[in-house]
Symmetry: D2
Subunit: 462 residues, 4 copies
Amino acid sequence: MLDCFHDECGIAGVYGNPEAANHAYLSLYAFQHRGQESAGITACFPGGSFSSHKGRGLVSEVFDQEKLNQLKGTIAIGHNRYSTSGKAILENAQPFDIEYHRGRLSLAHNGNLVNSHLLRRELEAMGAIFRTTNDSEVLLHLIARSRHEDFIETLRSVFMTVRGAYSIVMTDGERLYGIRDPLGIRPLILGELEEGLVLVSESCALDLMGATFIREVNPGELIVIDGKGFQSIPLLPVTERSAFCIFEFVYFARPDSFQFGNYVHNVRKEFGRTLAREAPVDADVVIPVPDSGIVPTLGFSQESGIPFEMGLIRNHYVGRTFIEPKQSIRHFGVKIKLNPVKSLLEGKRVVVIDDSIVRGTTSRKIVKMIRDAGAKEVHMRIAAPPTICPCFYGVDTPTRSELIASNHDLEQICTYITADSLSYLSHEGMFTAAGGDRNTFCSACFDGNYPIPFDSPEAGTT
Amino acid sequence: MLDCFHDECGIAGVYGNPEAANHAYLSLYAFQHRGQESAGITACFPGGSFSSHKGRGLVSEVFDQEKLNQLKGTIAIGHNRYSTSGKAILENAQPFDIEYHRGRLSLAHNGNLVNSHLLRRELEAMGAIFRTTNDSEVLLHLIARSRHEDFIETLRSVFMTVRGAYSIVMTDGERLYGIRDPLGIRPLILGELEEGLVLVSESCALDLMGATFIREVNPGELIVIDGKGFQSIPLLPVTERSAFCIFEFVYFARPDSFQFGNYVHNVRKEFGRTLAREAPVDADVVIPVPDSGIVPTLGFSQESGIPFEMGLIRNHYVGRTFIEPKQSIRHFGVKIKLNPVKSLLEGKRVVVIDDSIVRGTTSRKIVKMIRDAGAKEVHMRIAAPPTICPCFYGVDTPTRSELIASNHDLEQICTYITADSLSYLSHEGMFTAAGGDRNTFCSACFDGNYPIPFDSPEAGTT
Amino acid sequence: MLDCFHDECGIAGVYGNPEAANHAYLSLYAFQHRGQESAGITACFPGGSFSSHKGRGLVSEVFDQEKLNQLKGTIAIGHNRYSTSGKAILENAQPFDIEYHRGRLSLAHNGNLVNSHLLRRELEAMGAIFRTTNDSEVLLHLIARSRHEDFIETLRSVFMTVRGAYSIVMTDGERLYGIRDPLGIRPLILGELEEGLVLVSESCALDLMGATFIREVNPGELIVIDGKGFQSIPLLPVTERSAFCIFEFVYFARPDSFQFGNYVHNVRKEFGRTLAREAPVDADVVIPVPDSGIVPTLGFSQESGIPFEMGLIRNHYVGRTFIEPKQSIRHFGVKIKLNPVKSLLEGKRVVVIDDSIVRGTTSRKIVKMIRDAGAKEVHMRIAAPPTICPCFYGVDTPTRSELIASNHDLEQICTYITADSLSYLSHEGMFTAAGGDRNTFCSACFDGNYPIPFDSPEAGTT
Amino acid sequence: MLDCFHDECGIAGVYGNPEAANHAYLSLYAFQHRGQESAGITACFPGGSFSSHKGRGLVSEVFDQEKLNQLKGTIAIGHNRYSTSGKAILENAQPFDIEYHRGRLSLAHNGNLVNSHLLRRELEAMGAIFRTTNDSEVLLHLIARSRHEDFIETLRSVFMTVRGAYSIVMTDGERLYGIRDPLGIRPLILGELEEGLVLVSESCALDLMGATFIREVNPGELIVIDGKGFQSIPLLPVTERSAFCIFEFVYFARPDSFQFGNYVHNVRKEFGRTLAREAPVDADVVIPVPDSGIVPTLGFSQESGIPFEMGLIRNHYVGRTFIEPKQSIRHFGVKIKLNPVKSLLEGKRVVVIDDSIVRGTTSRKIVKMIRDAGAKEVHMRIAAPPTICPCFYGVDTPTRSELIASNHDLEQICTYITADSLSYLSHEGMFTAAGGDRNTFCSACFDGNYPIPFDSPEAGTT
Ligand SMILES: Nc1ncnc2c1ncn2[C@@H]1O[C@H](COP(=O)(O)OP(=O)(O)O)[C@@H](O)[C@H]1O
Ligand SMILES: Nc1ncnc2c1ncn2[C@@H]1O[C@H](COP(=O)(O)OP(=O)(O)O)[C@@H](O)[C@H]1O
Ligand SMILES: Nc1ncnc2c1ncn2[C@@H]1O[C@H](COP(=O)(O)OP(=O)(O)O)[C@@H](O)[C@H]1O
Ligand SMILES: Nc1ncnc2c1ncn2[C@@H]1O[C@H](COP(=O)(O)OP(=O)(O)O)[C@@H](O)[C@H]1O
Ligand code: SF4
Ligand code: SF4
Ligand code: SF4
Ligand code: SF4
Ligand SMILES: [Mg+2]
Ligand SMILES: [Mg+2]
Ligand SMILES: [Mg+2]
Ligand SMILES: [Mg+2]
């Protein structure tokens, strides 16, 4: 409803647990925010056949007790998807289950390959058929066509061929595999259950499952899990630089998660502190756009001394469907989600903090809403730099022309959103707060420095 | 899932708007937290026939565009219900539509009548048939049996007969009526749309509809709305005392609502401030049990100077259905909803604030969760006095024996929840913060002072 | 889809069986043809509370295993309804469950009261409230208001007051009651399970349940069933005449049922035989409009010696929903249901037999369909007299102006339906074949002789 | 519910009609009896992209107006499927839509390939991945891998490679293709709409669409339909023999259809006549097991002079779901579908005719049901020879060991089903009645003469 970046997926793999599908379900539930349009789980016993269920909607809508019970086995793979995309002919839902010359394979993928269109055309030329528009199908074709005897070698050659962002969990019905691209763009975390091992996109899933954090999968690393435990295989050559998606810290990840060597909460709060130093403002109160704005706002407040208040209330029942009245209601789009606390705002000079401005329409409505509630001044502070470029690494972003900061300067944006002042976090401030630099993180959507070049104009589409 | 008090209902009436049903829907959506088990709307044109739709589930599940479109008319009544109660024979969903000697009537009711069982037995003795276990049916029978020519006199005599808590919206297909009991136990608010007038349980609905707040309906007052505007009729004799449900301030109402002459946010924050003064504690950080604990925690922090942090994260996707794994996961019940931010809690002396302790099981899990996350000390502070008595005025409460504070002293509760210390807000502190005293508010669940006596042991059941 | 008379209901009562609801379900399933719009079952243990489930659609859609399992008890009442009527405000679904001064009552009703509007107005004047537009609610109010101590006397006085067609099953949670109106217009049959007793609208339900036929309930009789068996109470004064609905033989009842002292199949076949004698025709083949036309056609064939053939095939999957193409397809309405067997019709002189002509539009399409398939001549024979009047005794009929035979003579109808000849069964022929005369049967829809006068123009509406 | 052979599919293709999907829907509806478990339609404009919808259930359940409206285009392909088979991992629903080096392809298939397992293993060895267990996927891989420039040559080489029974409709988004295997095992019919051309499995679909029959597609023929009309291409070499599935005449096809050069009705009636001559019996009445038994029974009656009666009534509402009571009811399984007309059977010597005996359990229940209804003698006559072998050409049959006639002689079967006598139609009688001989028809399920050899034991599985 509100304009924002959307993460594309959350993935989970469970090995060696008698309730594998149930734990995959818990993971998908924990990082439901990573993808809300469809969900799927495939399960099996070692050597047994796959059972699978996928559907559109939230995890809690797609699965019920009966459906979960049918997903028997000690191995399971799960997938949350943001966008089911318009392409309705082909069935893009994951995990993606196939049979091929080695037997069976089930794969779930978070990310985006930048050379998949090229590879797809080559594969088609060699006689491959595609049922979906999904990158994963390219991966599976490559795996199936590899002439290597050894499966690890197969994987190595395939992932040497593809370029892009990917965290992958995969099972051949015997073992569970986890792979992360050489730049580590998307997260992938290894954890331990009382019984069994897990691989998940975000650490909050470990907490819900009652699992212990072991470590993050390394860039370019292959983790192979079987009855004996896990084994680390350096699959792909890595360079000194990594390219962890900094937007995970800015927005995607839950504040209670740990990623890229840091607590999300700590980084996000440091964004707020730095912002307070970089763009101070004389004000009576500082309020977040909840919930993603809360943590940086706390940092801002603590650094600046301006009292923190919950000046906007977020409706608990914000859902995916909502019927608008035909007659327009002022700021309706934002009201469904947020409502101001008038007594906090009346006559006040207000700083309001959000994680990003995408199209600007939401920020504009929020500023007006605060002003209508009686604020004397409204100062917008953004706990990240301006978003100026689309992401081609698995995040659903507006096109460049829709990104307000891509073609407007600070003053113009400030005027558009009708704020009294507007400031963004600096690039340096962001990197430092996140504990790294330009060679640690991908920050392409903030600066256009794409860590992986893409050769075709189609590259960016999913 | 977590143990708590449940409000029973939210009601809305719309008059003179071409999209009356749509606005009723918006109201129900805004105060969905007042009742999540079923929802219903009845609509009509003045003089036209009623159309009605009811169903189980959230407002957004019960209604879709097609169903709303069928509810044509400029008058509408809506109802959110917490409990559909076990009594499946009889159809308790509201609004309640009937035909009788005057024509048609549709009624929605928030509250509970304490003499309804008696009245029902009398009505049955006179030949009445009942299809539901609902208080509202008693009201309708009384209205239908009244011998008064005049409808207002009818209403007066009926509401002189019943005793209890009630806010009611009602239409005879011509006018919209709003009634509040003589003690004003349940809220009811009058507002103005660009086109038409509305009556709603909670003011946040006005904000979503884009309506202006006019005023609260007074205790004992009848509001009659027709094409000429609204008319105030003093229906029932009132005394000096009122009995506004103080639990609205403690928990039910959204912080952005205005009720009983005060902003909920302000009162709730003052609860926190007072608590900080009454029960100070030496600590490093104070955290809320979100979301209801946030506002008092801000007050506590501001008063005490202990830094406020979001040490517990509330999952956005907490729904009504969730599949538990068969193997127990530590604190699972609470984990589904809340997750600690470890980096904030490790090695800290933590104050955690919630609005109430009902059975104690949830608080116990929360304390343990915080301690497991590394807290050195965990001090629980409750922004209200101990809840020791059930409510008979329309709120779904556990029985006295289930209320931990009803039969355990402070120390015992503190031991049970495994906190390092525990304190509640004082009664005086609560009243003062809410801007009144024992004669302004009902506080029966905190002190057993029931403002309306009830004569039968059945009284408290719905 | 095709134009026809619709029966209004089928009812069932089960007593003393551990799977009472399941047997009620079987009954509703067996006479699903009596009402396809909604279905409901109420069940209880003697002295226990009612559980109930109702819904729109076929019995197999409304109930599933889980829902049936919830309907626990050894007593059950079921109801199939044809029309849910447009009146959506009020909830007309049956069985109708109430509480009143004697306790509980659940009632299901097949028929129509001709003085219910009058009674309703009187009841309303005395303070009754109505939630539905249903006759049954009038009955329940009358029962609740009766001043008789004795329940049997209560029933007697109530049913002395109402006039019309009714077969009723009812339980007070202790006993099962069956009542048939003094003219016996609607059927009601008593049967015996291995365990327990049953009352059903149509005997085919006994067969499906594996029950034995005991006898039909008599006109004016009350059957009371309890743990000791059944008891017959002559409730209402009866005259010499009865008024069994002859349309049951013509169309409603399944041919495998036994009603009004005769096998439906035998009567229906005799209709065909008589028709062959009364309206002979020189032809090569005689075909039914399946399925209702099959039995009379067999009679016609056997009497006339003209070979019987299945010249029209009835699609097994005729459902309630069907999406028509926007472009018109010739005879589409009928094609969805029926398709000719060309090889049987080409070049033939064809007699086609149906049970009735209502609006004429269907017969017209059928004649054309047969002719398009190559028939040289098409002779229509109807195994009943012309339907000229609406029914006010519980059958959903078109208004007089829509009944083609009401305002057109034989020749006009024949021309309209484009048949080469058309004949109907004579009134005498029908009575004789059915084993009675004008004093045995109601035949009002064929001759306007209404056995119960009705005093208001509203009488005929439900 | 009753034991029988199940057809596997019905297929339809529409070209050049503005309501192409709607006409495909009508076809699926007309031959719903060919597959009741799932249904799917893919539609497009020439050169446009595919839209597709598939689901489980009857055609009328899978599609509604909204879903059909989304299937825009003048080309459409539809598919009814009997078995969704247990293999839930892979998505077997058709039509099957892919992208490959030539562009897009959508294919629907009726039949079974006997060398698909072999081909599949070869394709896998060459790197193909499979998402389903479906034969169609093999076809699509072969098409995609063909090195022929020309599409027709591609099809020729692919269909020279596969062996088995297949009727196929297919579109590349530009043209519509229809193909029938060289033995013509499965039917495929070409028809003409007022606007456009159609290909359907069964001619009753033409009648419902208002299309004209052009001719059957020939064995080994490829029909290519484009804007200029249709073109016939002899795709595959054919021999003198054909192998039309004789079971279509015995059971599958609707009697109003025309297939393999004959009217189904005529053939089926001749089965009955021949049976009367081959296996005469002294009896009072001959009755069908409706509906499939009706036509042969008419033949039997006409030939033998024994009067035809509808002694068993088939419930119109036989659906796919039904809840059985826990307590057993005598012959329950059959009663749900059939009920005897006692007055017709009492004291009679009855001949009962069905199309086949598969496991024998149903026939046994039917014989008992007739006897329980009072029949003095029950003689079973089957209007086909004994079914002794499974089908490997696209029909879902029990295994050999489940086919009662496969391992019991006539007398044993007669004893098992408790009939007074039992006779089957002779093989010669069947062929003659069907207008051909062993070289015209496949009759493998009756005699084990499989017209296409299969090399692996897996061949027979779907
Ligand atoms: N309590 C929470 N539960 C889930 N996600 C949260 C929570 N708090 C913050 N987030 C983060 O904020 C994002 C969504 O929260 P919010 O800002 O409320 O909505 P919006 O996406 O509309 O900005 C998620 O991507 C998530 O990582
Ligand atoms: N943003 C909000 N939206 C809706 N209700 C809220 C909100 N914040 C606080 N509340 C209040 O808190 C209650 C529910 O919030 P919360 O404490 O998160 O859940 P719980 O009922 O489990 O304690 C509601 O009754 C409501 O009045
Ligand atoms: N086999 C049967 N199952 C159910 N009803 C049947 C059957 N045969 C005849 N009938 C009778 O015919 C009516 C419906 O059959 P049919 O003539 O096929 O449809 P229509 O109502 O469209 O004329 C029912 O009212 C029923 O009593
Ligand atoms: N009127 C009809 N509509 C559809 N199918 C029919 C019809 N009459 C006969 N059939 C044929 O009979 C089969 C199903 O009819 P029936 O014998 O009643 O059920 P069963 O499959 O249980 O034997 C179908 O395969 C169909 O070809
Ligand atoms: S472009 Fe932005 S969103 Fe995409 S991976 Fe890089 S930092 Fe993350
Ligand atoms: S008893 Fe408590 S919850 Fe009930 S009305 Fe009084 S204050 Fe409110
Ligand atoms: S009027 Fe016709 S349908 Fe009605 S009860 Fe009389 S015979 Fe039956
Ligand atoms: S084996 Fe039988 S069912 Fe199969 S194709 Fe041959 S005749 Fe038809
Ligand atoms: Mg946000
Ligand atoms: Mg709370
Ligand atoms: Mg009929
Ligand atoms: Mg059959």
